[in-house]
Symmetry: C3
Subunit: 277 residues, 3 copies
């Protein structure tokens, strides 16, 4: 247990069990990534890096259908500004990169949809396990005339190679957990009934190992596989620039018209919806 | 539709359907990669990079058994010279690298054999989908005392890692589509009956997305995963140097004696034939 | 056949069949990696790099349960010193890196357990094939408060990407051959009954190809995928530094108390044993 009391959160709940901190995303209606969730991530990362904090953090969602579906497209400037509290730069990509370098080992347990920056959030975690029957993955930016701005380009190319990363990002299609496992988007797909127990057991196991070794291994791995800040910054800048283009704004508006940002058929089937736009 | 009329081709046919350009390799008897096909690639790449050209190109083969089996071993100097029209250098590897940086998104739909430079051609495409029952992959150069000279070393190592790339290139054995999928040589293996529809749907989907985003994503991915020109040039030079060695010439002659370069058992079963040489 | 007589070995036996040298690890009771085995590796690498030596070396184990379970934790300083005979530096990681650059093509045929430096030894080989029913893989250092010091960090991240490498190394859990294949830890998992024949056929096939091409391909692949000496040295230094820490010493002692370094339940089930420590 950490000697530090848990901070207050708005868009997540946090509960410690033993040496593992379980953080549950709970930002109704559908866990859009907006200023409140970003503020909580800033708080959480700062907390994770206090001495003697929890060595392992598990992220889950209170919403079985949506882990993080994507950013709140109406509040891009706001959440970017909130991110700058931690990194000094208004960039979700640099915030997520900072998450990848926290002292804590981070594990995402994914039952629902992660698309866009939701996918980028779980890619920034150290590991990702997903429910075979229900998890859905999408890197949807191209469908809006955008580039993934919060790290997907950097992570997906290194995880799955040039051709599969291009397919994922240019196709902007939905992938189920089995396909995500085949491509290396996630560590492993598991039956939904086994997933929580599997992740908990792994988290508790890691949390019992000596912390300095965990940190040293993560640092050495990041030195090889985590792209530098300049690469994340460039992607982030390209996203910020393209979001204002008229064609992007038109496509965003058309998707909102069809139900995007609400608990709707369009959010459940974003891959198909983008293809029919 | 592109505002530019389609150029004339010799070794391929090209047909536009909507915003997708379908290029079918048709160079009897078995689609050897020689001067005519290289000339068409030069023409096609130049066409693809004119403003407002087709955003997506799909490559298929008119020959169900052979996509591109390998180069025409009797015309190496010729096709290398033709390649220099585009890049200024007599190198198939640099031509293929140039294909990887075209504005268009390129997809290979593979029903038959791709070996040697045929494999390197599809590796230079942005994505590759293959027929489970019929597609065959081989990086056969080692069997002739050669190194892969047109990009396979650069692509395979990055796609499948050191050990599998060494197995593929040192073993020079035939791989079916399921094995190629497992190793990441291709994006995905699909039943032959579903393959054309799958590729067409993906191509048309991508072609409907805003073009600047497609280009930006491809450029960012290439910045990470496409080796630099010097690496391609070095492999290309090593191939050109080794092709003249007496042991290589003897092995090429022995394979031609056994039916190589014709529609023969040897071409159908090159992996086995090389092992029995 | 090599013109050079085989050198004398202590912890391995070596037998040439045609152009392939079969090296069988035989260091009872359980093939711990200690000074004798390291000395043999030094001898073997020097032998492999004499002109006209065997072009392909296959490594197997005389012990069906244990290929190399890990280092002899009581003789770390000794085996590191022996390694320096070849490289000038007391580092197992630099010795294994040197194995990866030998002229010979090296293939590991794995029926039993490879954990810790045993895993790092097979990762240093050019290819790895394992028995589906019996092979077990573990990168167990974190469980002892250590970092993998002999190349696993460098190899695993490049073979399987950031997230799976972190899972493997932070979790320190046992993986069977099917999971190792999925993650790219090995080339391929095969039924135990087919494994020896498969590896032998591949080794003999490669050994019939012209040697200069094999060496050139391996050199070009290493230029891309083999980390530099400084990276291996850094990991090695971190291991050497951590081995003396009191928490590590306590965990090592506790595991020895439970049967580690002997033919025991603990050695057979190291993943589970570490989780219960």
């Amino acid at each position: 247990m950490s000697p530090h009391p848990l901070p207050a959160f708005d868009a997540v709940t946090a509960e410690a069990r033993g040496s593992v901190l379980y953080v549950t995303i709970h930002s109704p209606p559908i866990n859009l990534l907006g200023p409140a969730l970003v503020a909580d991530l800033v708080t959480l990362i700062e907390y994770a890096d206090t001495p003697d904090s929890y060595p392992v953090i598990v992220f889950t969602s209170a919403d079985p259908e949506f882990f993080i579906p994507h950013v709140d497209v109406n509040r891009v400037a706001e959440y970017r500004h909130v991110a700058s509290r931690l990194t000094g730069e208004a960039s979700l990509g640099l915030l997520f990169r900072r998450l990848s370098t926290t002292s804590a080992v981070t594990i995402a347990q994914i039952e629902g949809r992660v698309r866009g920056a939701g996918s980028e959030f779980v890619l920034a975690c150290d590991m990702r396990f997903a429910a075979l029957e229900t998890a859905i993955f999408g890197q949807i930016e191209a469908g809006f005339g955008l580039v993934p701005g919060a790290g997907a380009i950097q992570h997906l190319v290194r995880l799955m190679g040039r051709s599969r990363a291009l397919e994922v990002m240019l196709g902007a299609e939905d992938f189920d957990a089995a396909a995500a496992e085949l491509y290396g988007w996630i560590n492993r797909a598991l039956p939904a009934s086994l997933l929580p127990e599997y992740v908990t057991a792994l988290a508790e196991r890691i949390a019992r190992f000596p912390v300095p070794a965990l940190r040293a291994i993560k640092e050495r791995v990041n030195a090889i596989a985590l792209a530098d800040e300049a690469a994340f910054r460039r992607d982030s800048d390209m996203f910020a620039e393209a979001i204002g283009h008229s064609e992007t704004q038109a496509r965003v508006a058309a998707m909102i018209e069809r139900g995007m940002q609400q608990r709707s058929w369009t959010e459940r089937n974003m891959g198909q919806a983008l293809g029919e736009l």
